[in-house]
């Protein structure tokens, strides 16, 4: 038997240490988000409070607390320049909670600590709503309720697991209530405007591209979106999800083409052929209006709300930014042609280059242009030349090419000869423009991984990609992926460059085989996906769809309220009925005794209305002439004494089984009689 080290502690010390542990558990996930001083201060205060409890020393005076509070407020002001707003608020609540543990004296103090902790649990969800966070917070809730229940068991020193069992039971019974409320509570828009920092700190594809920007994304393994294909998915190498198209270049930075308007669908000059690919996208919030779709999507994706619009560069967008998980259906055609009829004037933006940058690339472009055989399409020739150079010129695909200078294309083509998709796409487009061929950079995602468990494709932020589109007079815009020329593995297989892992990840994943790691990850992704689909993506639209499924014709949020009220009323009625039934319910032992008494009465005895089992047993002996045979009488007597023993000498652990046995024997006795 393992001895519980906590059992030796005085009750006060044990309870305080437990509460501190739970608070530390709630605070721990926030440490990455809080400023360093806040984490250090909170940690020190908790350890200090724990030591005071351990040694049974008195709590610090008011001045200490006020001093620490002042320090915390000033530090918050210095860090955030304000006390309002989300992050400053979370910091203050965290500090207040830990300082409040220093005056855990009155009952009210304890409640303040508990309620601040509940609030702090919620703040964890500002930063992450993942399955792991949810599990951690569920544990925290259990811990807090355990501490609260334990605080209300003042007699003696009951073991903590008693309180834990009661708290766990309450949480389990509360879960159905949670489900009903979660499903039916009307989802509404934010009640008032939120501080500006509410949506900060999340990255995705960017609306612009400077060298190095996508390298950071490539290190981000978080999920960008999930795809469920109807039927067979296209080859992985064909999965180009179109994001922002970047047509303007100022020498340092690619930005969206000036004057690209949102158009009506038919104005984009898009013709599609061949088989369609139908699929559903679950897009993680990216704080951008972009709807990522496979190239090329002719009809607007079916959004739950609002309408999607397409730009003349084939990018689909919605009116508002994607701030919550968004699910939409789309139909794409891998074979398409686009922009065949563009005029010279319309193409001019895609030829523009800033003056005075990348002189050597310009020179190379002139050579290509000069060597072009007459009669051949210059565009096609330039593409071939550039790809040929990439394939055979010793160019390397790497995630860590180093910092590029002012003339990034020159450095790529002639000096470093190393880079990733962004360098290659940018340098490729600059070269073609310099040669007089219209070209642009397209960013988005390429590839993805299929989950063997649920068939969903997962596209991660590390799948972010940049490629080129070149305009050919005969074909319109044609996709060219220079990265594929250098490193065919980058597109179309799992063998992508892995970003250096952290030490912990190395230790954890380094020990398992790659296939097993892949399987584990697939399983984990599937669970996460379910979580996203069913919990995080549960919006008003889904609520109303649910109502439609259960028979409401034109559901509105009022219907949700009615339904909720109906459930509350029927639950109350059921509760009232149950309590009425319970009032008349008898103790099973007494019921058994009453049955026996009744049975004996019918057999001819005269038992009193409140006879005990022993009195009945005596009655059997006393009554003469005996109405039943001696053997039956002995059996009855034996039964009655067992009934008595069950109540007054029985071991209560098997009460129910023994009661059931007695019931069975009584039925047997009745049959015999």
């Amino acid at each position: 038997m393992i001895k519980n080290p906590l059992s030796h502690l005085p009750r006060d010390t044990r309870d305080t240490l437990f509460v501190l542990t739970v608070i530390a558990w709630v605070l721990a996930p926030l440490l990455g988000q809080l400023p360093l001083w806040c984490g250090v201060l909170s940690g020190l205060v908790i350890v200090w409070r724990g030591l005071l409890a351990w040694r049974g020393q008195p709590l610090p005076g008011t001045w200490w607390k006020l001093g620490l509070l002042a320090v915390a407020v000033i530090a918050t002001l210095i860090t955030y320049k304000t006390l309002l707003g989300r992050d400053a608020g979370v910091t203050l609540v965290a500090v207040l909670l830990t300082l409040k543990t220093l005056e855990l004296r009155a009952r009210r103090d304890a409640f303040v600590v508990f309620f601040l902790s509940f609030f702090l649990m919620l703040t964890n969800f500002f930063y992450s709503q993942s399955l792991l966070t949810a599990a951690a917070m569920l544990l925290a809730l259990w811990g807090l309720l355990t501490a609260l229940v334990n605080a209300h068991m003042p007699v003696g020193q009951p073991p903590l697991w008693h309180a834990a069992r009661i708290a766990g039971g309450m949480t389990l019974l509360g879960a159905p209530i949670m489900v009903v409320l979660f499903v039916l509570f009307p989802r509404m828009a934010p009640l008032w405007g939120m501080p500006a920092d509410a949506m900060a700190g999340r990255s995705g594809l960017s609306a612009q591209m400077t060298v190095g920007n996508i390298a950071r994304l490539a290190l981000d393994d978080s999920i960008a979106m999930r795809i469920a294909f109807d039927g067979t998915p296209p080859a992985q190498s064909a999965l180009y999800f179109r994001g922002p198209v970047l047509g303007s270049f100022n020498g340092q930075r690619w930005t969206p083409t000036d004057g690209v308007a949102l158009m009506r669908d038919e104005d984009a000059g898009l013709q599609v052929q061949g088989p369609a690919v139908r699929y559903q996208v679950t897009l993680e919030p990216n704080q951008q209006p972009w709807l990522l779709t496979l190239d090329a999507t002719a009809q607007a994706p079916a959004l739950p709300q609002g309408r999607a619009r397409m730009s003349s560069e084939l990018q689909w967008m919605q009116a508002a930014n994607v701030t919550e998980l968004l699910r939409y259906r789309a139909i794409s055609y891998p074979q398409f042609s686009h922009g065949t009829g563009l005029t010279r004037a319309q193409l001019r933006p895609y030829l523009a280059l800033p003056f005075g940058y990348n002189p050597r690339t310009e020179q190379l472009a002139q050579q290509i242009r000069a060597s072009a055989p007459p009669g051949q399409d210059l565009g096609r020739y330039a593409i071939d030349q550039a790809l040929q150079r990439l394939r055979s010129g010793g160019y390397v695909y790497t995630l860590e090419p180093g910092v590029y200078g002012r003339d990034s294309a020159d450095e790529f083509w002639f000096d470093r000869k190393a880079g990733f998709c962004e360098h290659m796409a940018s340098s490729f487009v600059i070269l073609l423009r310099a040669a007089g061929v219209p070209a642009r950079v397209v960013t988005g995602f390429q590839g993805g991984q299929v989950n063997a468990f649920d068939g969903f494709w997962t596209v991660r932020n590390s799948d972010a990609h940049a490629w080129a589109e070149v305009w050919l007079a005969s074909q319109g815009w044609v996709r060219v992926d220079p990265t594929a020329a250098v490193s065919p593995g980058r597109t179309g297989s799992f063998n992508r460059l892995q970003a250096p892992r952290g030490i912990v990840a190395e230790a954890l994943l380094g020990t398992v085989s790659p296939e097993m790691a892949l399987n584990l990850r697939a399983l984990w992704d599937a669970a996460n996906n379910r979580w996203n689909q069913w919990v995080l993506n549960y919006t008003q639209v889904k609520q109303l769809n649910l109502l439609k499924d259960i028979g409401f014709d034109a559901p509105s949020w009022e219907d949700l309220v009615y339904l909720l009220c109906a459930i509350v009323v029927s639950a109350s009625l059921a509760g009232a009925a149950w309590s009425a039934w319970e009032r008349h319910r008898q103790d099973p032992w007494l019921r058994l005794l009453a049955q026996a008494r009744h049975r004996l009465q019918r057999a001819g005895y005269m038992p009193g209305a409140n006879s005990t089992p022993r009195e009945l047993a005596d009655l059997l002996e006393r009554t003469s002439p005996a109405p039943m045979q001696a053997s039956a009488q002995a059996a009855w007597r034996d039964w009655l004494l067992r009934l008595e023993a069950l109540r007054y000498a029985g071991d209560t652990t098997h009460f129910r089984q023994q009661l059931a046995t007695l019931q069975r024997v009584l039925r047997q006795l009745r049959r015999d009689a």
């Binding site: 989300r86 009952r107 009210r108 409640f111 309620f115 509940f118 609030f119 649990m121 919620l122 969800f125 500002f126 709503q129 966070t133 949810a134 917070m137 569920l138 809730l141 309720l145 609260l148 229940v149 605080a151 209300h152 068991m153 003042p154 007699v155 003696g156 009951p158 009661i166 708290a167 039971g169 309450m170 949480t171 019974l173 509360g174 879960a175 159905p176 209530i177 949670m178 409320l181 979660f182 509570f185 509404m188 934010p190 009640l191 008032w192 939120m194 509410a198 701030t323 919550e324 919990v535 995080l536 993506n537 549960y538 309590s579 319970e582 009032r583 103790d587 209560t652 009460f655 129910r656």
Partner: protein, 317 residues
């Protein structure tokens, strides 16, 4: 304010008068009351804040947390109510006591269900001195309560309150119960009461003797060899360990009549206090004494039963 207080008192009396008198009560839905406590209101406010935060930041996980907490609190309400509901409380009739002393009585709590009931607190109604106990599954517990009776006489036990804050302290669950049991309160024996009055020589059954001053209340002397066994005051001997004999005077069957007139006091209650002290003294000494109170008279006798009878008469006089 005074009107409010009076109104509340009247309401309280009216409410208590409605309650049946019973020595044993099994609490049901009807007799257990529940309202949110201050902590419960605080929890409600916290839930509201959590809900608003979930709405404003569109946190589905926040909704889950809020609703799980709300669901658990609802279950806690049920658990709190269930802690008292179904509990059987029996008051154990207390022994008689003297005025100004506290009457100590016990309440037996019986739990027939399969789970324990935690943190049940009992107190006299209106007095915030709670006695807390757990009652195990299919077990009973006994708590001791002290009550200061208002004066001598036969008093019904005070109204009792049982409450619990288990499990979360967010609900106040309580019940009020009027036990039927009564406690007999004797007058408070006078401290340093004067010596017993002179007894009257008994006419019968013993032979007549000259009345003798028995000013020495004890009428005792140390044991001498030759004293009859029956003249030894065994009670005293048991207490002190020394053998003491009754003086020959006391040995004679003198009858001591105790009455209000003999006390020499005018205040009725003081008379009773002195009589009470005298009755106790006389019993201690093993005297043959009787009590006259108003119209009633208790014939001279000795022994515990006689003492009880006399004290009872004094209590109810």
């Amino acid at each position: 304010m005074a009107i409010m207080t009076r109104a509340r008192e009247r309401l309280q009396r009216w409410f208590e008068a409605r309650l049946p008198l019973a020595d044993s009560v099994t609490l049901t839905q009807r007799s257990v009351y529940i309202v949110p406590s201050r902590a419960g209101l605080m929890l409600g406010a916290t839930l509201l804040v959590l809900l608003v935060a979930s709405i404003n930041y569109q946190l589905n996980l926040g909704y889950l947390l809020t609703f799980l907490l709300a669901g658990s609190s609802l279950v806690a309400m049920h658990v709190a109510h269930g802690t008292l509901r179904g509990l059987t409380m029996t008051v154990i009739a207390p022994a008689a006591c003297y005025a100004r002393a506290k009457a100590i009585f016990h309440v037996q709590l019986v739990n027939t269900r399969q789970t324990p009931r935690y943190a049940i607190e009992l107190a006299l109604a209106g007095v915030q001195q709670w006695v807390c106990t757990d009652v195990g599954r299919q077990a009973s517990a006994r708590v001791q309560l002290a009550w200061q009776p208002p004066g001598r006489g036969l008093h019904r036990l005070p109204t009792l309150t049982a409450r619990t804050q288990f499990p979360l302290g967010t609900f106040r669950v309580w019940t009020v119960w009027r036990p039927a049991a009564q406690v007999l309160v004797y007058p408070q024996p006078e401290m340093h009461a004067p010596t017993l009055p002179i007894g009257v020589a008994d006419a019968q059954p013993g032979p007549t003797h000259a009345t003798h001053h028995s000013g020495e209340p004890d009428g005792l002397r140390p044991y001498r060899r030759g004293d009859a066994l029956k003249s030894i005051v065994w009670k005293k001997a048991a207490k002190t360990g020394e053998l003491v004999s009754r003086d020959s005077v006391a040995e004679q069957h003198h009858t001591l009549w105790l009455a209000r007139d003999a006390t020499g006091l005018s205040d009725a209650e003081s008379q009773l206090c002195r009589l009470c002290a005298w009755v106790l003294q006389a019993d201690e000494l093993g005297l043959h004494y009787g009590l006259r109170l108003g119209g009633s008279e208790i014939a001279p006798d000795v022994g515990a039963a006689h003492l009880q009878r006399c004290l009872r008469a004094l209590a109810l006089a």
